[in-house]
Symmetry: D2
Subunit: 354 residues, 4 copies
């Protein structure tokens, strides 16, 4: 079985391989009447784009997204929205070597185990290129949430390898930051770190946080449709994710109950250890999620592996790769937050009625 | 909308409130031919049972699970399996106070926000009692996985509040341990800690880990049906969960790529930072997940809150509550691992065919 | 795979075999606040009950339905509603013969082909007893639709074997009719027909129609969630159904376009060939569906068949069987109409919002 | 809510409007290893194509379908298959009149009721053009079923308006027939009928039958995933469908049980009133379905209607329209049969395992 659809009332289905002719998605379930343009979606894609700074990889896709359906006279009609991007920068090269190698940390081996075959050009379906369509569809969800409920979503890089990056939190600078950090002061340190990292040929992981405000209380369904459970699957479905936290997350392990439980007053909650979700349902506080990204496995530093015949080989990855995939994961995390919240808003409205 | 079903090819639907007449579940999709008895399911429930040690709460349910359908002559028939437990220990008491209070850290406020009503007796649907049915259904999945694929599943308490509990890993002692820890040496320390904690009236969080071995390579679906994404939603759907990790989890944030990528040799992988999953698909290594549980919010230490009219109140929780819910979460985590793996085995077999 | 769930926003999962200890269902997705009692559900079940007249079979279940969850102080809470009926009239008998026989027209052979096993007592899961839970859950949907939208649902027997039964349409008499026919005049003819049929040992088919009024325009989703497509699967899922029509149905084959298209005026539509659905979406007219039920296959007239070893046998069915299953299918058809409409109302409300 | 996905293990999601830039679909769940080319899909599309004979409408799309993903070196990879067709024959015209009119028998009124807006160019999403993608995806399912199980599928026109067209059944001539009829003798009569019909400006309905052979026994899931229930929704989801029958269908209403029940012998069944499905599960006999299509509502004969303001108008449809949409529905019915059967094969294999 193959499964490439996310969501229940708002459903995103993505398709396409890194080096195929195009990638795309179908977003089904968006209510009618939302005004949105290709330009607005492209603006969101530009935030994720490779080549954004010298710290991310050099593949340069224009990401000229086209809206092929579901719109009429500039507004959504309620029918499925098809988004489409041609792959223009899929450089033709010799894949004979890579076709027989299993790169450690990649999905080469597991795709072969599952399917008995794989499209080895550029990672095929397991390429991070798939996340482009999440950001494109997420742009629609973001705009809808903003317009209908004034919900805002803000992601940021909270840790880059060993460096905590969000002790200072100046939200206004995140979007202009080459690292999506809420601080300008820390940028020189990060640049130095990345330059050294690149020189070493190694890579690091990252932590990306995301918060959403003005989320109405009542989103989420008890037990198996919990808002936090749906956020967990949303985030874990992003390439390279190894962990997801809500609110205090793993810190809650060592917390006392008196520390963790957010007391309430007529003026509101006195803390947000819960991350805006209690019993799987939003409380009206900020919804806060944190996501761990592993370090890129594609390195020019050689490593041991096997080929498709099980023979030992040495793998050296060439080509364009980010030394920290987490840097440009911020817009992807935001997109998954937006898609999850919009799905839950639609699900909740069915129940409450008019 | 309400959503109380987990899984796709194997679907678990649970129902019932803590203080209603009964709780139960329907497990749909189990293949025919599995021999399983009520006794085997009860044995699994006994592991989770309240009252197991003096460190867990004193509610004593017999959990006399009954199989009401889907079995014939001791074997599953392929039709839906209905499991049923009467609530016998739902003590009758005066709920007039609790009916008007929002307990911090609980789902009282959010259920009211969502539904405009709630069954306040014992937490209603948001009670941890719901997890009983996960363990019951999980017992069926565990047996099937063991029999068909020799898959084994082992959970354990890895951290209790501030105390790391699994530095020594003697798997044989876990099931006899009052704390589900893989060590007998650490038990006195844990007992001392829990006694002091109980005296203080406070509570702590916990970390529960779980590993599954003999999982065939190839389980999981690219992109939105990833095995790790489905494990994430499975674990985050358990009451009190605040975080989920696969393999290295949040440690991978500070790792170098050379550290994290598990090299391969003809003899196998040289590490398991990946936690047995690459690109969302099992690699044949041990599948390893780690789950953060928050500290119990029900404390006899008073705290500030509001009532249903928004007026300030002081809340003191009476009654039977675990000072660390994580202690008996181990069988629940195992059950969700079993249900997720069995679901994915069935999904995968559809594709590979005979 | 096994699949026992109907609906998307309102989901009915049924379980149980004819001769097991109990049957039941879980209705998930019902909004909070609906007042409904066990008595109201039982009243609906009584309409379907066996033993209603001398023309239906003699099995006498009391159908003492119990509501085990999802209710609090007489109202739904929004959490899953568990309905439960003990099987009290599952007479113990010798099944050794039937266990080895494939009865023509029954699911014996196909269950064995699918599962390699079957619960042969009373038809097991394929027994019409399963439909009891549809009627029970349908009673909840009916009341909700009535209360929230003043939607009414009326089924009737339109044809009994060769006899057209609804040329006269006096809706007030249907519910008191032993045949669910909208006419008292035709009852003697039907009684004579049934008496002769019973004497002959044979059986006949039936046509049941159902209409729903006050259905708001706009229900149904283009393409694969069409209201008529969902009604078709709803009706075809009832035991013994062989055909489903919407509006003019198969008569539309021989119609001219000028005949079929329902002209519109400011006062409304001038006809209802469409059966209240255009392009898969309700038009505000009466939704009209017609369902064909095959004749009972269980006859005391012998027939040729094979046993589980493929050897030729003669089958004679003993026991209690309706010579026309269609007679008491009317409440089942109504229930499936109610469940489908309520599901679509909830789905539609998610989109239109507040 | 909008829902544009069909199937469970094999999922087809279609998108696109009649007069938008393109239409397409995503077929998710096809196992790896199937060799299929764009040419093979185009051949199937050519069977459905408009302009096939003078009896179908004159819109001439080339239907140059492209496969954009899910294939590698000529074979499916197990990842989602994206099919894409540019709309080249969407003539630009003045829509100001049609934008304000509700055409009787069309979805104009109901789309507005549901969404408050509609893409009125050529019917938008409700156009029969959507069915192109069913045929394209169905071509993949057909080839897979043929190759893996030697399953064959044959549809035919069984009735054209008042004329029964399949009394003679010469299967070899169907595919070359301008009417998809299994007889050459009847073609002159049909041509005469259609010529007169066109002259009159009116339209008629049609009945399309479809049979599938070599379908293994055991497909279908009890109760709500019945094979016949899934075929019913598959067929009813096709534009203009008003009825669906399995096997004897509505004829079974007047049948005796002794007539209907298909007796069994060691050599096989002695009849196929059941249409190859018993208890919702395939029996190994031919699966037989019959579908009623209503007459085209777009006529040059004027009719009464209302405009978007509720004012009375007269509607006359101009442009290219088939006087009998049923004629080219045959490949669509076959496609839905193929998609349903393949979905059920994959679902069933999950259960039976290796």
């Amino acid at each position: 079985m193959s499964f490439n659809t996310f969501g229940r009332a708002l459903r995103l289905t993505t398709w396409g391989e890194s080096h195929g002719p195009a990638i795309g998605c179908v977003l089904d379930g968006c209510p009618p009447g939302l005004a949105i343009s290709e330009e607005e979606i492209r603006a969101e894609l530009a935030r994720r784009a490779t080549g954004r700074s010298r710290h991310t990889s050099q593949r340069r896709e224009k990401d000229e997204v086209k809206i092929l359906s579901g719109m009429f006279e500039g507004r959504t009609t309620g029918t499925p929205i098809s988004l489409f991007i041609e792959n223009t920068d899929a450089r033709s090269r010799d894949y004979s070597e890579i076709s027989r190698q299993y790169r450690p940390g990649h999905a080469d081996f597991t795709y072969d185990a599952k399917y008995g075959t794989r499209d080895y050009r550029g990672g095929g379906r397991s390429s991070a290129r798939e996340t482009t369509m999440r950001v494109a569809a997420g742009a629609i969800a973001r705009k809808w949430l903003k317009q209908e409920y004034d919900i805002g979503i803000q992601g940021w890089l909270a840790q880059l390898g060993p460096i905590r990056t969000d002790e200072q939190r100046d939200w206004d600078v995140v979007d202009d930051s080459p690292f999506f950090v809420p601080s300008t002061d820390i940028v020189p340190e990060l640049e130095g770190f990345m330059d050294a990292l690149r020189k070493s040929g190694d890579s690091v992981g990252a932590r990306v946080n995301c918060r959403a405000w003005n989320v109405p209380a009542g989103l989420g369904e008890p037990v198996y449709g919990k808002l936090d459970a749906d956020l967990a699957t949303a985030m874990m479905s992003i390439n390279a994710t190894k962990g997801v936290e809500i609110g205090a997350g793993f810190d809650s392990v060592a917390q006392k109950g008196t520390e963790h439980r957010d007391e309430m007053t007529p003026e509101g909650f006195l803390g947000n250890q819960a991350g805006g979700i209690l019993g799987g349902i939003s409380s009206g506080q900020e919804v806060v999620v944190s996501v761990a990204f592993k370090p890129t496995s594609s390195l020019r530093i050689p490593c041991r592996s096997i080929d498709v015949d099980g023979q030992p080989i040495e793998v050296v990855t060439k080509g364009r790769h980010d030394p920290c995939v987490g840097i440009r994961a911020t817009p992807i995390v935001e997109a998954m937050m937006a898609l999850t919240l919009m799905d839950h808003v639609l699900r909740h409205r069915g129940q409450i009625g008019t």
